[in-house]
């Protein structure tokens, strides 16, 4: 029977089920076919903190949200239009965020008395009227799958496990997604298990056919491809983009890559990814702890590697002392902090931006460290290259502040041509860099480049440049131990000046204000870029005038930051912390920057930001009768 197809400009789907139900995989597959279909998209996985919380319980719910559209989008979306709930726990855990009128596809097979009581449902919400304000599509996913696979010689358990493919097939039909990609994927995954493979392929197909045939789904939705710039695209998550960025940086600096790391959520995947690329000469060292991880990286940096250490907040705390040493040694080192909820162990699987001030000040003494932050999952790639540029040019440790959302979220990424990448070639000092009055030459480990104030990077193995460095204060030029008061004051100021000087090589802060008349600026850093951008769009659509700026460099900030801020009556700083960037902006530029802060372990929703911004924009545009009263 013919079905009607409705055009929509965007869809937000949330797959939710038990950790065992393979929701992350289902989401990934749906995402990549959506990507190859050409939509713009943004995803947000939501893992449970436990490895496998007991089946069917609320803590065990694993979810994956996908936002895709026929136009450019910036966030995984505020509220889903469609929830796929594989069991009662998944329904209960997500119903709260589901706007009235949204579609809910429930796997009725799992709505047993036992499962219902597990999560505190006295009656079955599918049967009582509690869901009446949503479009519920009850589908017996499990039994339908088992039924469709009965001719296969596989166990019932194995058949049941294929129910996510059945669901994927159904959703693919519903939104007209190609399934070839998934078929190839399955062929690779189950190559060695032909029976399982065949079963999964059939489940996928039958899911599609089920949509086609069943009465319950009378409408199909179509989301046209988005007009992205020309190029070759792939979907990529933040940790992968970061790992690729680091390998690319090694390639561009012509240095061997060395990673010293200790596993920690949500940074571990960077270690996992880099360990796969030994064919690029990448050395990964899983250390006994975070201190040994950065210690080994520092040793490798001294030896001439592009040295990296990856971790999350608690690991940064442990590395603090060694970071101070890196500052004193003035060696290139990239410290990657994939921020998570804190303090202490906090919320390991949730996102947060509360390590900014730790990165700025978390060391003894005056120990300035440059800080860069990516603004979207794919942007981790560029941020890595920039961190490498600063570290190698200025011979300094550099912080790269990612976060849980940037790490696990994904989006389409235009794959760059290697030839487009910046040339970061590093040349080691291999000759004397100092001439005495009498014309004799010498190597001075702390004689600086007048431009950058960087000291020479002379690696062991270079004849004639043997030298000793260390954490005790060093005399200017010679690098000998010095307790001289004036030398100390000079060195402290010089290390600071070197970092401040980086500002001369970074782009000015640009402001996005189509109207050119905005009197309110919303400024952020890191992963709030998407939500802020979306919120600003909402405001503008409602006739409000608002400007947006986003900081890639937190230390030093762009040279024009102060001027920019002073041009606005209101400066709003949304952060997933209690106001860390706001403090820096206020302290440095004496502008009354107003923080909008939520520390919920989740990205901002565009709508909640828009509301806050509106309170300022309204007042400014009152007499322009803007539509958002």
């Amino acid at each position: 029977m013919a079905k009607q197809t409705v055009q929509v400009d965007k869809v937000i789907i949330r797959f939710a089920g038990d950790s065992g139900d393979g929701m992350q995989l289902t989401g990934d597959r749906f995402t990549s076919s959506t990507a190859s279909f050409g939509n713009d998209l943004s995803t947000l996985p939501d893992f449970p903190a436990e490895i496998r919380a007991p089946a069917g319980t609320l803590p065990g719910v694993s979810a994956f949200q996908l936002h895709f559209a026929d136009h450019e989008i910036m966030t995984p979306g505020d509220a889903p239009n469609v929830l796929v709930a594989m069991n009662p726990a998944a329904l209960k855990a997500n119903l709260g965020q589901l706007p009235r009128g949204a579609d809910i596809i429930v796997n009725t097979d799992e709505f047993t008395k036992r499962n219902l009581t597990k999560v505190g449902y006295d009656t079955n919400p599918i049967e009582d009227d509690s869901l009446e304000s949503w479009n519920v599509h009850p589908v017996a996913l499990t039994s339908l799958t088992v039924e469709s696979l009965k001719e296969f010689d596989i166990t019932k358990k194995e058949a049941e496990r294929a129910k996510n493919m059945f669901a994927l097939g159904l959703l693919s039909w519903l939104y007209g997604r190609p399934t070839e990609g998934t078929e190839t994927f399955l062929k690779e995954k189950f190559g060695k298990k032909p029976e399982i493979l065949a079963a999964n392929l059939k489940a996928l197909k039958d899911g599609w056919n089920f949509g086609e045939t069943t009465e319950d789904f009378s409408i199909r939705y179509e989301v046209k491809p988005a007009p992205l710039n020309a190029g070759t695209y792939r979907n990529i998550n933040g940790n992968l983009a970061l790992a690729y960025g680091l390998i690319a940086a090694a390639h561009q600096t012509k240095l061997p890559l060395f990673l010293g790391s200790y596993p920690i959520t949500p940074a571990s995947d960077i270690l996992h990814e880099l360990s796969k690329h030994k064919d690029f000469g990448v050395r990964t060292f899983q250390a006994e702890d975070e201190i040994a991880g950065i210690g080994a990286a520092l040793g490798a940096a001294y030896g001439g590697s592009l040295a990296i250490t990856t971790t999350s907040g608690p690991g940064v705390a442990l590395k603090s002392e060694a970071i101070g040493l890196a500052v004193a040694l003035e060696l290139p080192l990239i410290i990657i902090d994939v921020q998570r909820g804190g303090p202490s162990t906090g919320l390991p699987t949730k996102t947060e931006q509360a390590d900014l001030l730790q990165a700025m000040y978390g060391r003894n003494g005056e120990a300035p460290v440059p800080i860069v932050a990516p603004q979207s999952p794919a942007d981790n790639f560029n941020a890595a290259l920039e961190a490498a540029r600063i570290a190698t040019t200025y011979r300094t440790p550099v912080f790269l502040l990612s976060d849980g959302y940037l790490a696990n979220g994904s989006e389409p990424w235009r794959v760059p041509e290697v030839s487009e990448l910046p040339d970061l070639t590093v040349t080691f000092t291999d000759s004397h860099n100092w001439t005495a009055e009498d014309g004799t030459t010498e190597f001075m480990p702390f004689a600086r480049d007048p431009e950058t104030l960087a000291r020479p990077w002379a690696v062991p193995g270079t004849p004639g440049l043997e030298h000793r460095i260390g954490g005790i204060e060093k005399a200017d030029v010679t690098g000998h131990i010095s307790y001289d008061p004036d030398n100390h004051d000079f060195m402290v100021r010089t290390r600071q000046a070197k970092v401040d000087g980086i500002a001369s090589t970074i782009a000015d802060l640009t402001v996005d204000d189509p109207s050119g008349e905005a009197t309110t600026l919303v400024i952020g850093w890191g992963s709030t870029f998407g939500p802020i951008g979306a919120a600003v769009k909402l405001i503008r659509n409602r006739g409000g005038k608002v400007a947006q700026a986003h900081l890639r460099h937190l230390n030093p900030m762009p040279a024009n930051t102060g001027e920019v801020l002073k041009q606005y009556d209101h400066v709003i700083v949304p952060e997933m912390n209690l106001g860390q960037l706001a403090l820096l902006l206020r302290g440095k530029y004496l502008v009354d920057a107003i923080g909008f802060n939520k520390v919920r372990g989740l990205p901002f929703k565009a709508e909640e930001l828009a509301e806050v911004i509106a309170t300022y924009v309204d007042t400014n545009n009152a007499n322009e009768g803007s539509s958002n009263g």
Binding site: H251, G299, A307, G464, E466, H467, R468, I481
Partner: protein, 346 residues
Amino acid sequence: MADVDLTDSAVPVKLTAKDFKSDQEVRWCPGCGDYAILAAVQSFLPELGIPRENICFISGIGCSSRFPYYLTTYGMHSIHGRAPSIATGLAVSRPDLSVWVVTGDGDALSIGGNHLIHALRRNVNLKILLFNNRIYGLTKGQYSPTSEQGKVTKSTPMGSLDYPFNPLSLAIGAEATFVARTVDSDRKHLTDVLRQASQHEGTALVEIYQNCNIFNDGAFDLLKNPETRDDEVIPLVQDQPIIFGAEGQHCVVRTEHGSLQIVPTDSVDPVEIVVHDAHHPDTATAFALSRLSDPETLHQTPIGVLRDVQRPSYDRLMQSQLETAQEQGSGDLQAMLRGADTWTID
């Protein structure tokens, strides 16, 4: 490159002790055992036949850790306890270098204990010189993890409560492949141990008894005084029966419960005397040797190489993984970036 002074790489193998003396004024207390160790190392290094620029000394913090400043090799005076980690990163990423660690009993066994035991089990290509003066020197005399129990120090006016580590037992328990002990004042023995350590592939731990004449003077007198040393020091010589004493009157034999004991040489059948074999794969004898001496007084202490066995070094293993991975040519960046699953918009 024009104006590089290439002298040291030009004649790499013909260096002398002088070539390893830096222009930095040595700043240990007059009489400190560190001076003797420095002199021994400086005169030993030429033996390596390695150009200065390919040698690197990494230290932590402590009096002993000032060591790198006094050498003309590459060097780093790092932070307290972390030298083994830093040296690991350097050695693993630069297998062409000869990497040495200089550390103290506090630096290596107190704050740095974890890095030490992990370096040992990994068998990274490091030569670790542990200057054991059984005290914290630089911080002016608190007890250390090797101080005898009941030691009265600034921080333990009624005596320390901690039972000391036996650094060599700890190392053997941590899967060390090379474990040795020597004494600051015995230049010949010290040099000989350095030589064997330098020839070992992997991590070599050399404990050097070092006198801190300011805060723990005489800690090793029993092993140094002419009157006592012959009866207190047990020199270990590969493939030789373990006999010591002025007239070789003491010897080492096995007890019936697997440990070792010292008996009068003339009281036993010579075949019962343990013949020293540091290369024996089994740890039993090396461990038993490490237990021979009295942890408090050091009464009857074996010196020399207790254990020296082969196990591929961490750096070599990593190197070969990289080579295997690159057999089909090294990675193609563009291909990696593109990946499997792309689409094109034009």
